[in-house]
């Protein structure tokens, strides 16, 4: 019996080998491409387990995919095989709020979980720009984060338990409903950020946090991004912990105003500081931030209107894809877009990115979670111009190398996938990478679970090693 028929036996008509369907699953939001042979949309752990068992018997690669919003090709089947579209496993199984947790399937969309939690006074803090789209499974697999992680931490701080289908089809649990545990290896953390290379997540127990009673936004603008970076370092050094701390350089501000001219944003390079807590605590913290930033800033204002703040955050969430608004001939290409450095080094990184942008004659929009050292660099090109593509790749490489040189990372929250696999050895060194490879071999001896990612494949690493 052909594999497609065997897959049909497991999932009925939720399998496709149609060329057009395979095309649609051949990439995410990155430039990585890989054509699957089959797309399967499971709706239960049992189905996932059966599909993986079949794949293991035949040595066929299996790549899990959530909403396909990834920016590094993590869910792209670069070695072909089966793509498991997990977005159909989208039930919120239990709100166990007395134990401060929820049990969900991996296909639940982040924003939907928060919609459900809101009336109960709770939220799941990791809030990527794609929160209206991305799935919890993808967030866990990439240790995703977002604007509020500077205070609340990344996804790994919120995962208590996972159900995982291993490479041979076995189903295991990695944790429990305990908010803490000191018994054995922390397998939950092992799977978080593993980008689906060690197994397929089919269920997750997530810790949730109480919604703050009040939020307040401080908008500070500066003459240049480097000065803005210095103001951020100074703010943190003063002991203030904002719930979000975002940089929007002047190009980003121009794009945002092009999208919505009613937004209350000043010109220049801008830092958005959000503080949350109670009415009085946020007022006090906001005033402190204004004081710290004033010597550096050209303009500082404090905003507390809920609608005004939400409009700014909503625009900020989507700005990454919006550069075409200032020049419809240019498209944002997600490369070199997720570097991070220790926050003290942020001004240096910003300066180096400015130099790289000039050297390769490519405009760069800089925005991101400056509060945790994570800078999103948006390079945009005319995609019909081959020369610009070549310069783009060279610029992205230079950005990645700069981050590593400054003691940082090639990815702060988007993941390594295939796009940044070549930098793993440069960032970690052979010793650390060999441990990662050994773990991979133990859990996936055939190398069928999301192969071609994270630089785990044996043999010489490609590209980016210098």
């Amino acid at each position: 019996m052909d594999l497609i028929d065997q897959l049909r036996d497991v999932v009925g008509d939720r399998v496709s080998a149609a060329p057009s369907e395979r095309v649609c699953y051949s990439s995410d939001a990155s430039q990585i491409k890989g054509m699957p042979d089959y797309v399967v949309r499971p709706i239960s752990t049992e189905e996932v387990s059966k599909v993986v068992t079949l794949a293991a018997e035949l040595g066929v690669p299996v790549t899990a995919r959530g909403a396909g919003t990834g920016l590094a090709g993590g869910a792209v089947p670069v070695k072909g095989g089966i793509v498991l579209d997990m977005s159909g496993m989208n039930r919120i199984l239990e709100l166990d709020l007395e134990n401060l947790q929820v049990i969900v399937e991996p296909g639940v969309v982040q924003a939907r979980l928060n919609e459900v939690l809101k009336p109960h006074g709770f939220f799941f803090p990791p809030d990527p720009g794609s929160s209206n789209i991305c799935t919890i499974g993808g967030l866990i697999a990439n240790n995703g984060s977002g604007m509020r992680c500077v205070k609340y931490g990344t996804t790994k701080s919120y995962v208590l338990d996972l159900e995982v289908v291993l490479a041979d089809g076995r189903v295991v649990r990695t944790g429990s409903r305990m908010l803490k545990s000191a018994a054995g290896y922390d397998l939950t953390r092992l799977f978080i950020g593993s980008e689906g290379t060690l197994g397929i997540i089919t269920k997750a127990g997530l810790r949730v946090a109480p919604l703050p009673k009040a939020r307040r936004l401080v908008i500070a603008s500066f003459d240049d991004a480097e000065t803005a970076g210095r103001a951020v370092a100074k703010t943190f050094a003063s002991g203030i912990v904002p719930s979000a701390c975002e940089i929007l350089d002047r190009t980003t501000i121009a794009v945002l105003l092009r999208c919505d001219s009613n937004l209350v944003l000043p010109e220049g390079d801008v830092i958005l500081f959000e503080v949350d807590g109670t009415e009085s605590s946020t007022k006090e913290s906001a005033e402190e931030i204004v004081q710290v930033c004033s010597p550096f800033a050209t303009n500082v204002v404090s905003v507390s209107g809920e609608k005004e703040m939400e409009e700014i955050w909503e625009a900020r969430r989507l700005v990454g894809a919006a550069v075409s608004r200032i020049d419809p001939k240019k498209s944002r290409i997600y490369v070199g877009e997720d570097v991070g450095v220790p926050i003290k080094k942020i001004p240096v990184l910003i300066r180096e990115i400015g130099e790289i942008s000039e050297r390769f004659d490519l405009p760069a929009m800089k925005y991101g979670h400056i509060g945790d050292g994570n800078l999103h660099v948006a390079l945009f090109i005319d995609v019909l111009n081959e020369d610009e593509w070549a310069r783009l790749e060279a610029a992205a490489d230079a950005i990645h190398r700069a981050a590593i040189r400054l003691g940082g990372t090639v990815s702060s929250e988007h993941g390594v996938g295939a796009a940044r696999a070549g930098y793993m050895k440069m960032q970690w060194g052979e010793g650390t990478l060999s441990v990662m490879r050994a773990i991979k071999r133990v859990l996936d001896p055939q190398g069928i679970i999301n192969p071609g990612k994270l630089g785990l494949d044996d043999g010489p690493s490609s590209g980016g090693e210098g």
């Binding site: 149609a18 060329p19 057009s20 939001a29 419809p328 944002r332």
Partner: protein, 363 residues
């Protein structure tokens, strides 16, 4: 296979920049009503754009390709939400047109086209299109205003046509003596509609109309965008809102909600006039999503004809957004009204003109 590939290469006519605007961020996944029901990546906007691009690169246009493109209702919520400013309904429509021009289409598409071209209406009706009009002798040969009735109101909702004409007649509005389908259903599904356009346009010119008024969102969009800009187009709600004080309306002690037709609202920005008319008559309570964010009824873009189950499921999900306790769902598009009724609305679904007529009648 080779032949299909050669045909598909000709797809390159679609502006590559329009396609490249899509950065595959997936924002459209969160709003595409067809995708929400069907679940496959090829059934959402991002997937459709990838399919169109693949067609240009040589993908053979098989039935799965057609199902991907044809399950789009062209509701345009993806365009409204797209951070990159892409306009997917235009890309989808262009791709359909390109395929149809080479004879690549579903049976539903070809059957529909044949029916419309043969009968001049979307139902293949042979009956008199003006059958709803008891006496046509009083129709004026010349007028500044023409009421374009549309296929649905002519043949399926003649009472709405009657009420609309009764309202408009007092302002000197006349009718086309031999109106045919506006062409929208053909254009949306990738076919040419120039024969229909010419026939209607000739009559509009002969009457000397400067303004064409229509009560159908699909007709409105077609008259506005697919006809030469030789006359002004007004929707019935716009016309009524402009003449509110002359309508002598009585207030009704009811609460209604309003469903924004995609082709009137998102595509043409007509959000306020129907609301003004409603508020002049009774209380209005908005649906969970409204205006730019309103969910589609599932009827447009050829989906009702080509994929009836999908179409009705989208309508059922729209009905879940009706606020509790309202007395009626009001809309300004007979296709939306029909689809919402067919999806089993427990609450009466009526045309804005029905509401206006009640407000006048209750006096």
């Amino acid at each position: 296979m080779t032949e299909a590939k050669i045909e598909a290469k000709a797809e390159a006519r679609i502006d590559p920049r329009a396609i490249e605007l899509c950065v595959r961020c997936g924002t459209c996944r969160s709003v595409c009503p067809a995708f929400e029901v069907l679940g496959w990546e090829s059934r959402n906007t991002r997937g459709r754009i990838m399919v169109v691009k693949a067609l240009q690169e040589g993908l053979a246009p098989d039935s799965d390709v057609l199902d991907s493109l044809n399950t789009c209702t062209t509701c345009g919520i993806c365009a409204a939400k797209c951070p990159a400013g892409a306009n997917p309904p235009v890309i989808v429509q262009e791709a359909r047109r390109s395929l149809v021009s080479k004879g690549v289409m579903t049976e539903a598409q070809s059957g529909f086209r044949a029916k419309v071209n043969e009968s001049g209406n979307t139902f293949g009706e042979k009956a008199d299109r003006l059958g709803w009009l008891p006496d046509r002798s009083s129709l004026k040969d010349k007028s500044d205003y023409v009421y374009f009735v549309g296929c649905l109101d002519s043949y399926r909702y003649p009472e709405v046509a009657k009420k609309t004409f009764a309202l408009l007649k007092r302002f000197g509005v006349t009718l086309l003596p031999d109106e045919v389908c506006c062409g929208s259903p053909l254009v949306r599904t990738g076919s040419e509609a120039s024969g229909l356009v010419d026939k209607n346009l000739g009559q509009i010119k002969k009457i000397g109309a400067k303004t064409v008024i229509t009560g159908c969102a699909g007709c409105y969009s077609a008259l506005k965008k697919d006809y030469p800009p030789e006359f002004e187009v007004l929707s019935v709600p716009e016309f009524l809102a402009e003449h509110l004080s002359e309508l002598d309306l009585n207030r009704l002690d009811i609460t209604v909600t309003y469903h924004d037709p995609c082709h009137l609202g998102r595509h043409n920005g007509i959000f306020d006039p129907p609301r003004e008319v409603i508020k002049a008559i009774c209380r209005l309570e908005e649906m969970r999503t409204s205006r730019e964010n309103a969910r589609c009824c599932g009827g447009g873009g050829g989906v009702r004809a080509g994929y009836p189950d999908l179409s009705l499921e989208i309508a059922r999900r729209r009905l879940l957004e009706v606020p509790p306790g309202v007395d009626a769902i009001v809309s300004c598009c007979p296709l939306c009204i029909r689809n919402l009724r067919d999806a089993g609305s427990k609450i009466e679904v009526i045309d804005l003109v029905d509401l206006v007529a009640r407000a006048i009648r209750s006096r």
